[in-house]
Symmetry: C5
Subunit: 361 residues, 5 copies
């Protein structure tokens, strides 16, 4: 069940496979499975002191003032036609449109003649099932307009919207490229909390292993490994993406924004480091678990061996004197029975001493 | 049996070895073993609205119109002479011809003065035997003509032929280089379904290991490892091939087609990532299997130890009072037997308590 | 508990997370948790023969002579406002100020138009808990002024202050850039003692494993692994930092100082090597531990097997002659009992011989 | 015994050590141990239609025609003086001569002012002892003359000589550089058959492990590992050698020959890939072996536990009623004995059911 | 005890730590612990036919002829003042002098304005304790003068001195740079014999493991691992050192000598390869040891299981007929006893057959 998360769910994958097998390049096919009741499109406009946010249906209004920056925040991609109309309204390249609805993309940044496209992954970690859920987010920036397109209805960009509303951090005074940066930054920042949650699980696992390893411990370690693998797969292309973002010659991205992107790149490097480190930590936990099991097995074996080694010879001795031979002279001595108890006690003490000398007890 | 798949079957390999040991470079020797009853050659011609597909024997007709693009789809390579005639008809270099029939090639792209040659591998995964079957496909493109040469009779390029027939995706309006791209793309797309099938097997294995590892589980993991090794061996050179394809200065490949090749390159990178990820997943499964076995062994040991540790001392006690000494005063007491039962019950309870304190039960 | 050290303590991390989730870039938020009673700021001024060190509260005095080098040594960062005032007094860039109080930074060197900033980590190793404590140290150098800002009240730079006071090593005759180098060098030198302490623990662990592995041995190995991971995470960026330091074109760093930085770079490389080597050593110890456990288990098993294999058949034999059949002719022979003893002795000797031939005893 | 193969045999190595310790650089010392009865030197001359092959003793005749290509094939190197005379006759550099007789060289290509020298390794695999035997081959090419010098008397270059004799592959029409290429190609081609043999052994091992692992299985895996290590050590420098060969600016190597060298380079890369792949396969087999042993141990343990857990409590019960207490009321009941049998049968069935529920039987 | 060898002995390290913690850069502190009774300084002068070697105390005489090359061979470094006087006499840079007595250096080559300094490590392997002893050797070359400074009194450069004395290898005709090369070469050559000795130990270990693994086998593997780690740590920087040596632009090193250095570089690469290979071999041995232990444990377990599985049910049976029930009809049959023996024999044979079918016996 869980391995499939690496490539999203089974249904999505078979959708992808179906697409892959037949359609020619350039066809828009939604390869995900999340179909919501209705697609939400939020249009935010701002410019200096002006700020307005509205929900639109399927008409894309003119900007209120020509200088305003427009941000379309679309949630839900199953209506391919609507996506296409929005994209074409702002001159998106057909290949970019195809990438938006093909939610199996590797994270990437593509520079078109009149727009820049980012495809990145947003994650959420479910601590109960130790599973990552992945969502593809596309951000398209063109002159004065930013489109963000995501599959699910969750409000990924809440904090950016809030900063726009309260105008904190001077975000309103900057252009569309800074908004695009802020959106990407917002997604990347969430990786930290995913990694934090994974760390908490590793912490709990470590304590469990130390106290007493359980049967599901090993599958939990396995699940976290898979989650880290998935994270790595999505984060490793980000490093190059950030380099291209920071160094792009596209006139749509100002030098001022690129300064901030460099900061973001540092975060991405830090996240990459953390993922690698936690992979090492997970391997370390697995080793710890294995050696804990070995140690326990050794201690179980020692107990068994001590008990058996003491009592099996004694049982033999008492068996000897339970035999029914006609001629067993010892049986008829007066203190034979007590002498035997003495011998057996000596045997027990001798063996206990020997075990102590081998550090078994 | 299975390791040999890494280098195709045993017979093929000994064929290769025989060739290697003797012949000078430049000799055409078919190093495969698949000999079909008759070699099939399909000739497809198209140009704008015109489309024609026919099966030819061993004459290579003139194109219907000079602007038409010709695609020879040859299946079966054991008739080296026929391959040579076809190749020479369209000016293939002797070294390229040699590569076509030597089916042990590494995937590669070679640019000749008047043609470009691609050698790639097509895979099929047999989920029952957990085996990959490999077939070498050579694609040669020269001015207005594409040759595709494969060993087996399976119709690898069904979907391309269909798109040509229905003219979907404007494939007919583009030249021979785009067709060559479409053929390569077609083979690469199939890798996704192979990887999907492998993933399904990994899924099943994971469930089996969680439920109850079987004796053949470990050999299944081993088989999938070998399949992934084989895939990696064939896919890793594709990355460089795609770079050369996308950046070639050969005038046979138009800039327009190269744009599409860049997309294909992204797919190849994605596949490479997936193969690496699944290798990690397979190692994780192996660890899971190993620790599952250890955990079971530990639990088996604990059962044995609990039973032995409880009953061996008791057996010793009852053995004591089964002895036949003349002088054993306890035996003649009235309630000795019942006292013994009490002592033994206390022993049992004491040991159960001790086991619980060690978390064994 | 211990894994969290990789990212400092839990409280600090949740502080970081809180910050990350909301604030726009450029906001100063202290992401640590160490709040001291009062922040200490030491101002040291020196120039040739002149040396003066005073504790200041929140006024930043004019230098005594214009040529004097000023060194502000601030300990405690929770008062963000004070940090900001000090930084702004000497023209620190807002991004640099943000980095000072965000104690989750990767080690880095940033060149601003009128200052150079170093962010590095200072470590202390607690041998009893096998834990590393981490502290972030920022060093900002501008014309004639050095600011060093650390979280804790510990006097990290004692030896530098002493050298300034006694004027040993001609440190007083050099400028602010040499002082910055001396401070960084001081922190890096402490890594050696941390590594020394880790090595001592590895030494002790090795002896313990050789003598008799204990239940906590494996968790100690695990702890040291985590410490080395943490060290590596903080030291690996230092290598690049040193290269940038040694090759920077900033006019604030003189060529003379860069010569010394090259020496320091050698130390960093040596530390990196040592950390990698000790990671290998730790893995080696883990293997040693594992095989020690296996060897012990094997020897326990052999003991059990020897005892059982000798006495179980003998117990069977004595059981046979404890049966109560009416018709058991052997029982009534005269020397049967003694013959049985003879047979049993032969059995014992035979089995001992067989064990010796298998090298079990 | 076997590890020494990594550096040839023990005697050879001590010879090497002796040399290393004393002699100054530039001294010719044969560091091998293969002393044959007499050194064989074959001189082959060819030019277009002319071909002649003779065995010479210690005179090096003038070429029959000035345009003829001369190939000296010398087998046996212990006569250092003879090697020196042959080398000096054709202007070999003293350092090149030293390399010829020092058979511990890393594979390399050296360009001297008037000659090019190749040092490579020839392998033979002994499937019975799972050992590689290594022989150093030096090939020196100068204007119109090729010297090949090997240690052993085996005819490594049989197929080249045959092609020369029959003039197949137009080898006679090309110059000395092509001959040198053909000789190197010949040695490299033999690597494929060595790898084939190793693969066969891996195949057999896999079957053995699947059927029933034997005590020598693990040492066989170990031997193959060592062989692959040895191969890798000799093959990895070949990659760079081939690059230098293909790109050399030496006028002795024609562009035409370099085209063929590029092909050869592809083979070397393929061999490197194969060796790496088989190293992975060998590690996989080792894991398979380990888990097979674990699985068996687990199944052995289960058998033991089932038998013990069923019978130990029963033995206790029958022991109870074998005691000799005066007052044991049950013994005198009429059907007590049969009731006990019933109880014991229930116990057996209960335990079997419990084992089945734990999937032990 | 042994891990400390990685950084020399404990005393030396604490000396280093003490130094590190306090002193400013540029201070000469001897960080080793080897204090000999008196420091030996050998002065060798040679020029063409002239050769003279004398032991000097603490005066550094003028050269006999101006063209003579002087070689000071100093053994023992604890007298820092003497080292400083010798160094200053020939213009050594203070930083170079500091490096000579700080015996914790990474191997390196430093080019000063009027001299070149090499710091390398000399090793000796103690086969009994499986320990490496390390000694730092500094070689300083300036115009016509070579200083070699080592810690211990052992004559590392015996063979060079002999070659100088006998003038073999024309060493006397070359200058100081060639002498420096010869000294470095001499140290590097000794690595081969250290590796040889390690290989011998690996050979012995392999045989021991195959025959019968002992309790100290695993710690021996561990010791060799540590030795190889130590070697690698000291040898890996040599590769870069050799590149710098071979390509230096310092006028002190002639092009002629650099030709020889290239040869030496090949040796260093070969040694690096060998160390890596033996690390792999050591890991292989560890695996072999582990699987040997597992195999033995499995065979021990099988023995135990066979014996127990056969006799425990039989003991139960004989126990049954040792019970004292009043009503046990079988006991009074005539041939019951013999029938029981028959049943037990059948049981034994049946179980033996079953074990054989599972390949346990």
């Amino acid at each position: 069940m869980r391995i499939t998360n690496l490539l999203r769910s089974k249904e999505e994958k078979s959708a992808m496979t179906r697409k892959k097998a037949g359609a020619p390049p350039g066809t828009m096919v939604y390869t995900g499975v999340r179909e919501m009741d209705h697609i939400m499109v939020h249009l935010t406009q701002y410019h200096g002191n002006f700020y307005d946010c509205q929900t639109i249906q399927d008409d894309f209004p003119e900007p209120v003032t020509p200088q305003a920056t427009l941000w379309y925040d679309m949630r839900g991609l199953h209506n391919v036609e609507l996506v296409e109309r929005l994209g074409k309204r702002y001159g998106m390249h057909p290949l970019a449109l195809e990438d938006v609805v093909d939610v199996q993309q590797r994270p990437k940044m593509e520079v078109y003649s009149d727009g820049v496209m980012f495809v990145i992954k947003a994650f959420a970690f479910n601590p109960d099932r130790l599973e990552l859920s992945i969502e593809q987010v596309s951000i398209y920036v063109t002159d004065g307009v930013v489109l963000s397109l995501q599959e699910d209805s969750g409000d990924l960009f809440k904090s950016v919207r809030k900063r726009l509303e309260t105008s904190s951090g001077r975000i309103r005074t900057r252009g569309a490229d800074y908004l695009a940066y802020a959106l990407v930054d917002n997604v990347v920042d969430k990786y930290f909390s995913v990694i934090d949650q994974i760390e908490n699980e590793l912490d709990k696992l470590e304590e469990t292993i130390m106290r007493s390893p359980e049967v599901e411990t090993k599958s939990k370690i396995h699940d976290i490994r898979l989650s880290l693998l998935t994270l790595r797969k999505s984060i490793s292309p980000l490093r190059e993406l950030m380099n291209r973002f920071a160094d792009t010659e596209s006139t749509l991205i100002t030098a001022d924004t690129q300064l901030y992107v460099r900061d973001l790149r540092d975060h991405v490097i830090q996240i990459t480091d953390l993922v690698e480190t936690y992979r090492d930590v997970t391997n370390g936990l697995y080793d710890l678990y294995t050696s804990e099991i070995s140690f326990r097995m050794n201690s179980v074996m020692q107990t068994l061996t001590i008990v058996s080694t003491i009592f099996i010879p004694l049982s033999f001795l008492v068996g000897v004197y339970g035999m029914n031979w006609d001629n067993m002279p010892e049986l008829h001595t007066r203190y034979g029975y007590f002498v035997l108890w003495g011998v057996m006690l000596c045997l027990i003490l001798g063996m206990l001493g020997w075990f102590r000398s081998r550090r078994w007890i």
